[in-house]
Symmetry: C2
Subunit: 93 residues, 2 copies
DNA sequence: CGGGCTTACGGTGTGCGTAAATATC
DNA sequence: GATATTTACGCACACCGTAAGCCCG
């Protein structure tokens, strides 16, 4: 269960395609494919339904997607918090 | 901003020492030291106050700690969700 | 001396990119 | 032929463990 895997899932859902997710994540398609595949392999569930025109989350994928969104969002906030701390830190003489 | 770094921060705060965190995380002390150091280096803030008898989170460390706890907790829930999906998935003929 | 943190060094594993293959329209 | 996904291969980076050093009681 790695972050980049959850991020991949989130972006795939957001764009409706692995290609689009790859663009957003600034990585190549195979990287995203492997990320979700590892995730599916890890939990033993098909997270995406592969269609010729793209992909759609399965019910299980959608369920995990909600969790993934929260994790990514909170991680984002953590990064923001660290930046804020960086701003107020210099005053801690 | 990696998960294991946040996890390290959480466990350090929980145990009050890098040594204790290492034990909980089933890794060695240097690994934990480097994890928090990388985190500090990344956000440019001293997260821990090093004392001879152990370490104590700084104000900035405490702030990030709250976020870190949330991230770790949510990630935990994500893993649990995947297990649940695994349980209900086989019925999706 | 003992306990705890840090630094340096080497190995191993993982994630990424490139290249090639398959399927649909 | 174009688009989208998947698989295979090789590489670079990051994490971890071991070993050695430093500080304080």
């Amino acid at each position: 269960m790695k972050i980049h895997q959850l991020r991949a899932l989130v972006e795939i859902a957001a764009t409706g395609s692995i290609n689009g997710a790859a663009r957003r994540l600034h990585v190549t398609q195979p990287a995203v494919t492997k990320a979700v595949r590892d995730l599916e392999d890890e939990c033993g569930v098909r997270l995406l339904e592969r269609n010729p025109w793209g992909v759609v989350p399965t019910a299980e994928g959608a369920a995990l997607l909600q969790r993934a969104r929260t994790v990514v969002r909170e991680l984002e906030r953590a990064g923001k918090t660290s930046r804020t701390s960086r701003a107020i830190a210099p005053a801690s003489s």
